[in-house]
Symmetry: C4
Subunit: 217 residues, 4 copies
C-alpha cells in the first residue's frame, strides 16, 4: 500500500518520504556508476598482444581498488540509510535539509576516495577522506536523532531499545572515524586500517536487522 | 494516497503525477551529482608531501564554494517544488510542459553557477545567473498558479489561504531576483549578496509547511 | 491503479509496468541532464570584462540552440510515451524489448542532435537525425500496436476509437519524418523546417488527452 | 508503510524491495545512457561535405557496434533480473549485499565491453569480458538461490518447479560463459561467437515468463 501522504493512521500524516527516497536512490545510483568513469585504459597500440595488454591492465590495479572501495563504502551507507528510513514515516523541512546535507557528502565520496587512492600515505588526503566519512556518520546520526526524538517522524510504537541501538551504532562510527583522523598525523597506516575495518564491521548483520522482519509498517 | 490513475475521488481523476515526480527526482539527483565532476585535483606529483597537497587543495576553494552553492540552490528548489507538488493531485499536457520548462532551467544551473563562480564581479555572469534563477521562480509560480486556478489540478477542498500564501512566496522570489539583476549593472556586490540571502530565506520553515502535516492527500 | 504485483482485476495480472517506467524516467532524466555538458565556456581570461564575456557567451549560441532543441524533443517523446503508458496495464518480455529499443534510440538523441547542430546543411547529418527520430516514432508505434492489439496489455474496456487515434497520431509522425529524410537530398532547409514543426505539432494538446481525464485505471 | 504489495500476507513482512528496485533501475538507466558518451565524432572540418561526413561516420562503426552490444547485454540482464525480482517479496541485509555485488559488475560492463570492442582477438580482453559476464550470472544465481532456498524471501506458495527452472536457466549461463573463457586461449573466435549467441538465447521468451502472467503477487 502506498500511503504517499495518506491519512489512514496518525503515523502517516504529513509529507511522505517517497520523494526523498527517490532522490536518495538516484544520487546513490549515479555516484556508484560514475566511479567506473575513473577506470580508463591508457592509450595502448591496437596491435598489443596478450602479454602487453595484461601488463597495462595490471598497472590499472590502484584504479580498480579505489573503484571497489568506493563502491563498498557507498553500499554500506546506502544499506545503513534504508535500514533507518524503514522506520521513518513522514518528513518535514528540517529533516529534508538534514538528508540533503547527507547527500552532499555522499556526492563528495568519489572525490575524496580518489584523493586517498592517489596519496594513501599523505595526512592531508587521510584527513579529507576521514572528515568526509565522519560528516556522513554525523548527518546520518542527526537524521536518526531528529526523527526519533519524541517520536517526531516515526511511529509512536517504536521501541526505545531500537532507537538507542541505532544511536549507539552511529555514535560508534563517529568515534572510530574521529580516531582514524587523529592517527593520520601519528601513524597513517593505522588510519588506513581503520578505513578498511569500519565498513567491514557495518557489512555484518546487526541486531537492528531483526526489527526489519517484524513489520513496523 | 497514491492515485496512480485510480478513480476513488474526483480529485484523483486523470493522469497521475508519479511519472513527473520520478523524472524530476531523477533530474535533480543527476544535476546534484554532476556538480562534483567540476571539482578536479590538478596534476600533482605523486611525491607531494602534506604541505604541498594541502596547498593544492586550498587553491581549489572556489570550486568547493561553487559546488556547495549549487547544491544548496538545487536543494532549495527541490524542497520548494515537493512542497507544492504535495497538493497537486493530477497532471495534464500543459502542466507537464510547464514542469519540463522548470526542469530545463534546473539542468542549466550547473552552467550558470560555474560561470558566476569564475566571474563573480562580471555583470554578464550575474545577469545570466540571475535570469536562470528568475526563470526558475517564474516557471514554479506558473505551475502553482496553473494547478490551483479554479482548483484545476488540486483537491477542491484546498484552502484559498494556502494558494495565496504559495503565490506570495513565489512572487517575492521573482521580485528579489529581478532586483538582483538590476543591481548587476549598478552595484555587483549587492547582487551577489542577494544571491546568497534569497536561498537562505527559503531554507527557513514557512507557514506552508504547516499544511504538510495536515493531510490534503 | 498501481497493481504492484496485486491481482484485484484480470487486467492487472502479470508483470507490472513500474520497473519499466522507472527505467524510462531514469533514462530520460539522464539524457536531458547530459545535454548541458556539451555547453562549455571556452577558455577565457579571468580578467574578461562584460563586453568580452558577453561576446564569448553569444558565440555559444549554436550550443544553446542544440541544447534547447534536444530538450524539447526529449520532452515531446517523454510526454507522448507517458500518455500511451497510462493505458498499458502490464508488460511481457516482447513489450519490454520493444521499450528497450525505444530507449536505445532515446539515448542516441544527444549524439544525432549534436551532429545536426554542427552540420545543419549536410545531408548525412540530416539523414542520421531523421532516422533517429523515425526509429523512435516506429518503436513507439510498435509498442502501442503490440499493447493494444486484441487488448493484449491494456484494459479490455479500452475504446477502439482511442486505439485508432493513437495509431493515426504515430503513423502521421512516421510519414512526416520519412518525408523529411527524403528532402535531405533535395531541399535540406525543408527537412530542417519539418524537424522544427513536427515537435511543435506534438506539443499542442491532442484528443488523446481527453481520455487521460476519464479514468481507465 | 512500505509494503508496496501490501501486508495482507506473512510473505510481505519485513524490509520492502522498492528501494533496491529503485537503485537497480537507476544504475541500469545510467549505465545504458553513459554508453553513448563513448560515441564521439572525431574533429572534422565545418566545411565537410556529405561524402566526407559519411566516411567519418562509417569509420565510427566499431563504436556503434560496442554501444549496441553493451545496450543489448544490459537489456538482457535488466529483463532477467526483473523477471526473478517479480517473485521476491522482501529483502534482508545479505540479499541487499548480493544485489550490490551484482550491480557492481553491471557498472563494470561499459569498461569491459569497450575493452573487448578495441581488442576483439586478444585473449586478455576476452577473459576480462567473459569474467564480467560470468560474475553477473553467478551473482544473479546466488540472489535467486538465496531468495528461494526454504522460500526465504519469496512467497511460501512458489512452485518448486519454477525455482528449479530459474536455477537451471542461470546455471546454463554460468556453464556457457565458463566455456567461452576457456576458448579464449584456444580459439578466440569461438569465444566471440558465444558472447553473441548467449544474449540472443536469453532474449527469446522462456517458460519462466508463463508465471509472470499468473499472479504470485
Amino acid at each position: 500500500m502506498e500511503n504517499r501522504g495518506s491519512s489512514d493512521s496518525p503515523a502517516s500524516e504529513g509529507l511522505g518520504k517517497q520523494r526523498l527516497e527517490a532522490l536518495m536512490d538516484g544520487i546513490f545510483a549515479i555516484a556508484m556508476t560514475l566511479l567506473v568513469l575513473d577506470v580508463k585504459l591508457p592509450a595502448t597500440p591496437k596491435s598489443a598482444d596478450i602479454t602487453e595488454l595484461t601488463r597495462v591492465l595490471l598497472e590499472l590495479w590502484p584504479r580498480f581498488l579505489v573503484f571497489f572501495a568506493s563502491f563498498v563504502i557507498l553500499g554500506v551507507l546506502w544499506i545503513g540509510q534504508i535500514g533507518y528510513f524503514h522506520f521513518v514515516k513522514r518528513t518535514n523541512r528540517w529533516f529534508l535539509w538534514l538528508s540533503l546535507l547527507f547527500l552532499m557528502f555522499i556526492v563528495f565520496i568519489p572525490f575524496s576516495t580518489d584523493l586517498l587512492g592517489r596519496y594513501p600515505m599523505n595526512a592531508a588526503a587521510i584527513v579529507i577522506y576521514g572528515c568526509n566519512a565522519l560528516l556522513l556518520e554525523i548527518t546520518l546520526f542527526l537524521q536518526w536523532h531528529y526523527a526519533t526524538h519524541a517520536r517526531r517522524l516515526v511511529g509512536a510504537e517504536l521501541e526505545t531499545e531500537l532507537v538507542a541501538r541505532g544511536n549507539k551504532r552511529m555514535l560508534a562510527g563517529i568515534c572510530m572515524y574521529s580516531t582514524a583522523i587523529i592517527f593520520a598525523f601519528l601513524i597513517p597506516p593505522a588510519s588506513l586500517t581503520l578505513f578498511v575495518l569500519i565498513p567491514v564491521m557495518y557489512i555484518l548483520p546487526s541486531r537492528v536487522d531483526y526489527h526489519w522482519t517484524h513489520s513496523h509498517g
